[in-house]
């Protein structure tokens, strides 16, 4: 429903990647060739971090071997080459998410992006509000609205912002199945709501939130909308303009890129009205001993030397994804997601969190095995070479809401085979017998 197609790539008849294509894709990923405990690696932890194709690794190495230099300073040849590479990377990644070049700010990752926004609003709140920046200032009586399913990265920065400004943090609660209670969202969205921050797809539930519905509610009350696209940018075709959000964040390492690079999207007129967060070199026009004037976005938010080679490598990742086709990847992962939820749900004592079989889900499934702690589940799977994530996945409030302290999460990507999903399901079916848990107490 929110799989919005971009005009450039919105061809009506696209098919999911098939198994043969996935096998060919796997040849591009050196790390997938290894064995763990004498068994082929089954990597089902792409939701935490994805693997890198050769083209990404080579792009970073090629940059260091041929074009390495500081950017936006220096007039020598390499400085020009590096600046071109850096800005071309920005243009590529901006195009990948459907925004203008100057609306994409490099950050270390999505967490850094959300903190950038929160601290900029914080600075606006203490009077660093030149011209139009007053609209970002929060004060007692104002409210920031999040959801109960947020990753800690889209919760704690807002908790802290509210603490600093006296604003109140509210959240949209979940129903027992983990879906947003939209009737509550409508009730909570008032003239007091200044910011609505929510995740596009949950890193635990694998659901896709109705961005259009939430944006419409926020627009009616004049709230700014911040979208956490950390789990959607790698897996769904995205167009932030079409989604009509004001801000969005994502991380490079979850979308075939290196660690240490991510981005914030912000509508141009908003970014240029916001006070900076990190200050220093490369983000100024004139500086005196008393004060400084700032460049427009994106440089306004890029103080200090940036993660240049990582940006270049992230652009290579975006190209790899675009050439494969984000629609085809999304369709493929929707199939794998169904295979996961159907297979796992059929196992006695296994409860899959979030949407059930047949309901919209990305290629991700977190589950509870009754009577066996997630850590032990993960250990059993690791012995078979199967890599999954265990724990609260940085979403403690969500787990608490679902009556759990931890779960096990399997997450796919474009290189995941159907056989790998089946191997996981077969392995999970053996876990309760291995740990001597009887059929009693089907779910916990």
């Amino acid at each position: 429903m929110t799989m919005v197609s971009t005009p450039a790539r919105g061809d009506a008849q696209v098919s999911a990647l098939d198994d043969d294509e996935v096998r060919r894709i796997r040849n591009d990923f050196p790390v997938l060739e290894q064995e763990i405990n004498g068994k082929p690696l089954v990597y089902l932890d792409s939701g935490a971090t994805s693997q890198n194709p050769r083209s990404v690794l080579e792009a970073e190495q090629e940059f260091y071997e041929q074009r390495n230099s500081a950017v936006h300073r220096g007039a020598h040849h390499l400085a020009v080459e590096a600046t071109d590479a850096f800005e071309e990377a920005r243009a590529t990644v901006a195009r990948f998410v459907g925004v203008q070049d100057d609306e994409l700010i490099w950050t270390a990752n999505a967490t850094a992006g959300l903190n950038l926004l929160a601290y900029s609003f914080s600075n606006a709140s203490v009077g660093r509000a030149a011209g139009d920046a007053g609209r970002f200032a929060l004060k007692p009586g104002d409210e920031v609205l999040v959801t109960e399913m947020e990753h800690h990265a889209n919760l704690i920065p807002w908790q802290e912002l509210c603490r600093r400004t006296g604003a109140s943090l509210k959240y949209i609660p979940l129903d027992d199945a983990g879906a947003l209670r939209l009737e509550e969202a409508a009730r909570l969205m008032t003239a007091r709501t200044r910011i609505l921050a929510f995740t596009h797809t949950s890193n635990v539930l694998g659901n896709i939130n109705p961005v259009d519905v939430l944006v419409r509610m926020a627009r009616e009350v004049g709230a700014l909308v911040v979208l956490d696209a950390c789990q959607s940018a790698p897996h769904l075709p995205l167009d932030f303009k079409a989604l009509d959000v004001d801000f969005a964040v994502f991380s490079g390492h979850k979308m075939l890129g290196p660690t240490g690079i991510g981005a914030v999207y912000g509508r141009s007129e908003l970014l240029n009205a916001m006070p900076p967060f990190l200050t220093g070199g490369s983000m100024i026009t004139t500086v005196t001993m008393e004060e400084a004037h700032y460049l427009p976005a994106p440089q306004r938010f890029e103080a200090g030397t940036q993660a240049i080679s990582q940006a270049v490598a992230l652009a290579a990742a975006a190209n790899y994804l675009s050439e494969t086709g984000m629609h085809r990847i999304a369709l493929r992962e929707a199939e794998l997601g169904q295979r996961l939820v159907t297979g796992l749900s059929a196992i006695d004592g296994v409860r899959v969190l979030g949407p059930g079989p047949g309901e919209e889900r990305t290629g991700l499934a977190a589950f509870d095995v009754a009577g066996v702690h997630a850590h032990d589940v993960g250990q059993y799977l690791d012995d078979l070479g199967i890599a999954v994530r265990v724990g609260h996945h940085c979403a403690q409030p969500l787990h608490r809401r679902l009556g759990l302290s931890a779960s096990t999460r399997a997450s796919t990507y474009l290189y995941t085979t159907s056989e790998e999903v089946d191997l996981l399901v077969e392995a999970v079916a053996q876990i309760r017998p291995y740990f001597g848990v009887t059929a009693a107490g089907a779910t916990s």
Binding site: V372, H373, H375, D383, Q396, F435
Partner: protein, 170 residues
């Protein structure tokens, strides 16, 4: 025995289910750090592993036992993986009767064993059932699970002794 089977030995799986001493939630709250009956004191410690969310609250009581001070009982309440729960169960069975010095010595050896990455042999006489946890040492990510109850016991022992110190000062 495969790596996994040496980690999850039958003894460990049994302890993770029976959970000896895991009845703290059913007991009334005790004053901690203050002298108990006789020469004893009680200490209570809460330990949390933020990585996995495992947690334990452990209460340890000291009393006099013929020759001198000794652990009289350990009770705990916890939530966690098979390794952390079994480890707490084993400890609460073996600690009663030990002198504070002996318990501390046992905890030190257990910690050394856990951190050895499998290079150290367990002193089975000293560790008794806890020697079955030796396999954990080969899984660095799980060492904290095995240590959770032992760290709590070490902390609770310190408090119990502090209570006793108060008693002697009086």
């Amino acid at each position: 025995m495969s790596g996994l089977d040496s980690l999850y030995q039958q003894l460990i799986l049994e302890h993770s289910k029976t959970r000896s001493g895991g009845d703290l939630a059913k007991l009334p709250a005790a004053a901690t750090g203050t002298p108990g009956p006789g020469q004893g004191g009680t200490g209570q410690s809460h330990q949390l592993n933020p990585i996995c969310g495992d947690e334990i609250t452990l209460r340890l009581s000291l009393g006099t036992d013929g020759d001198g001070q000794a652990v009289t009982e350990i009770h705990w309440d916890g939530d966690g993986c098979a390794i952390s729960m079994a480890s707490a169960s084993i400890l609460s069975e073996m600690a009663p009767g030990m002198s504070p010095t002996s318990l501390r010595h046992t905890i030190d050896h257990f910690r050394e064993l856990m951190r050895s990455r499998g290079k150290l042999e367990a002193d089975e006489e000293l560790l008794q059932d806890a020697a079955a946890l030796a396999g954990v040492a080969k899984y660095p990510a799980r060492v904290k699970c095995a240590m959770l109850a032992w760290v709590a016991a070490e902390d609770a022992l310190r408090q119990a002794e502090a209570g006793q110190g108060v008693s002697q000062a009086l």
